[in-house]
Amino acid sequence: KKLNISHSQITRLYSRFHSLDKGENGALSREDFQRIPELAINPLGDRIINAFFPEGEDQVNFRGFMRTLAHFRPVEDNEKNKDLTSGEPLNSRTNKLHFAFQLYDLDRDDKISRDELLQVLRMMVGVNISDEQLGSIADRTIQEADTNGDMCISFSEFTKVLEKVDVEQKMSIRFLH
């Protein structure tokens, strides 16, 4: 029965993929995502879109689309895991946190530097906060999280700071049937 629900979700998502694919070439580009108005006005819109595209690529096919969205399946849904590494499902708490971590980690080097944090903060607040204030916010955040003194936030430090947050609920999308 769980299988049926998954199947209909895949059909729905394929419809959606197809309707976003204006060029009808079986792959989505960044412009295709930007055409969604609510995503275009999202301050982190560009970062989220970027998460769909592997390093250096400009097109994402349906498989890649589904793979990225799979991070957001609710944790209860774990009969079907498709992750190929070490058997951990894509939508585990760790992998959801990793997805969020990568929103901040601009150069994908597995740590969030002060500079990267500043850039992402600037995306979120626009012109409304001064450089000095933003700088002190970034410093405070790093200070709070950094345990090994390298002035960067690693993934394990990130996880530690957010250990009490209900990641499973906040980073999941529930289908209505």
């Binding site: 049926n4 209909s8 059909t11 729905r12 998502l13 419809s15 959606r16 309707s19 976003l20 995502f33 930007q34 055409r35 969604i36 108005p37 609510e38 995503l39 275009a40 006005i41 999202n42 301050p43 982190l44 819109g45 989220i48 879109i49 969205l69 957001f72 997805f99 969020a100 929103l103 901040y104 992402v120 903060l121 979120m124 607040v125 626009g126 012109v127 409304n128 906060i129 001064s130 204030q133 916010i137 405070r140 955040t141 999280a145 936030i153 990130f158 700071v161 957010l162 009490k164 947050v165 209900d166 990641v167 906040k170 980073m171 999941s172 999308i173 529930r174 289908f175 209505l176 049937h177």
Partner: protein, 468 residues
């Protein structure tokens, strides 16, 4: 061969007299012979039967459930403040002011992914999906083969629609439009007088009635006492060019629009001879003041017909009402709102201009089962004191959305073709910034906030970087 031509000719004559006698003449006198009603009743029964069969079939095959009208994913309706507040509650707060936490990004991330899966805007520019198949091939999404009987009925439907109804409808449409052109030119020859106006109204209504029969349109008008009066402005939600036929079946309006070439142009030039419509050249449309002035002059003259305007500016798929452009609401005058809701079961009236041109659209219309719709006349509204044009427009839009059972959106219908305004993103950023600064408000940030102008406030002078 001679014999064959004669038979064809006789056939044609019989055909024509049937059309004239049974459809045109009653249309001219506003009388209904009841054929359409019977047709619709039969259709409803058939579709109900088909739905039951499909549901039964789906249960047997454990097939895919159909889409619910409420969307495909659950969405939290909380505001940014609420959602981020909830996220932060579980995080140990640092009290040195500046309320940023790393988990804030979760809110934007989830919203973004939700919008990638399903968003409120892009779905309005394609046809509404039906909850159950209505036996038209074009609406067949994911409905698989169920039974032989259903397929036979479907095949019968194809035959009826394409071989019987389509020729009939095309004949009617051609007659209706040519009569409109000829009739209005003839009436235009008369000197201005009450008789001329009366004749003009008669010609217009008759032709629109014939065109409506040409679509097998069944229209139910509600609250006729609120019908638009002379010197007023009628506003309605826009789904297709057929809206004009629907509304003009029950009253006479002055149309507003751009001058077109081709067949449209011929129609425009002829109908303006019998009564004043407002046609703009393309260049004039850009000058908002000139447009406003012409409309103002029109409604100031109480002998002229009410203007019909569609403030959305583009066709929307009849599941929602999108932003009303404020231009029509600045002119003054009484606004008569009208809500139009089509029943998608019988035929999808939405014109997806990106996918179909006018001719293919009309052909699709004429090969649907029928066009069934409800029209509600809402009580007239005027701008109140202290209300600006945008607020007034939103008020009218809500009333129309509420009456028609449509979703009230403030997104611009122009997003069909254009990108979203940068200022909306800036609004989001401003909202989030106020959550970070919070009580740590100092003069520098205050002045920064004030210099970014609010995009919804047309009277505020644009300073700083927040340009429209």
């Amino acid at each position: 061969m001679e014999g064959a031509w004669e038979i064809a000719f006789v056939f044609f004559q019989v055909w024509l007299s049937i059309v004239v006698g049974l459809i045109m003449l009653p249309a001219m006198f506003g009388v209904s012979l009841g054929f359409t009603d019977i047709y619709i009743k039969v259709l409803v029964k058939t579709l109900e039967w088909a739905t039951l069969r499909i549901q039964r079939g789906q249960k047997e095959q454990a097939a895919l459930p159909s889409q619910s009208a409420n969307g495909i994913i659950e969405k939290d309706d909380g505001s940014m403040q609420e959602e981020i507040g909830e996220l932060r509650r579980s995080h140990p707060k640092n009290l040195a002011g500046g309320d940023f936490t790393l988990c804030d990004a979760f809110y934007f991330c989830k919203k973004g992914i939700e919008n990638i899966v399903e968003d409120q805007v892009t779905q309005r520019f394609t046809s509404e999906e039906l909850a159950s198949w209505n036996l038209l091939t074009r609406t067949n999404n994911n409905f698989c083969y169920i039974s032989l009987r259903l397929t036979i009925i479907w095949g019968l439907g194809v035959f009826i629609r394409y071989c019987i109804l389509l020729p009939l409808r095309i004949t009617l449409a051609v007659i209706g439009l040519s009569w409109l052109v000829i009739g209005t030119i003839l009436v235009g020859l008369l000197p201005s007088s009450n008789v001329k106006n009366w004749l003009s109204d008669l010609v217009h209504i008759t032709c629109y009635r014939i065109c409506a029969r040409g679509l097998s349109a069944t229209i139910r008008y509600h609250n006729k006492e609120n019908r638009p009066k002379k010197g007023g402005i009628c506003v309605a939600n826009h789904t297709s060019p057929i809206d004009i036929v629907i509304l003009a079946n029950d009253g006479c309006y002055a149309m507003v629009g751009q001058v077109h070439g081709g067949l449209m142009g011929v129609l425009q030039r002829s109908i303006v001879r019998s009564c004043p419509h407002v046609w703009f050249e393309r260049s004039e449309m850009k000058d908002r003041h000139a447009v406003a002035k012409r409309l103002k002059d029109h409604i100031a003259d109480k002998t002229k017909l009410p203007i019909l305007i569609f403030p959305e500016g583009t066709c929307i798929n009849n599941t929602s009402v999108m932003m009303f452009k404020k231009g029509s609401f600045e002119i003054g005058g009484t606004i008569y709102p009208v809500a139009i809701k089509y029943d998608p079961q019988f035929g999808d009236a939405f014109w997806n201009s990106a996918k179909y041109n006018m001719v293919s659209y009309l052909l699709r219309m004429m090969t649907s089962w029928a066009i069934v719709c409800n029209v509600w006349y809402l009580p007239p509204m005027t701008r109140q004191d202290g209300e600006d044009a945008v607020q007034f427009a939103n008020r009218v839009k809500s009333a129309i959305a509420h009456q028609g059972g449509l979703v009230d959106l403030s997104w611009d219908g122009g997003l069909k073709r254009e990108k979203v305004k940068e200022s909306l993103k800036e609004e989001q950023q401003k909202m989030y910034s106020s959550m970070i600064i919070g009580s740590d408000f100092n003069e520098a940030s205050l002045s920064l906030l004030l210099s970014v102008s609010s995009p919804d406030d047309p009277s505020a002078p644009v300073k700083g970087s927040g340009g429209l």
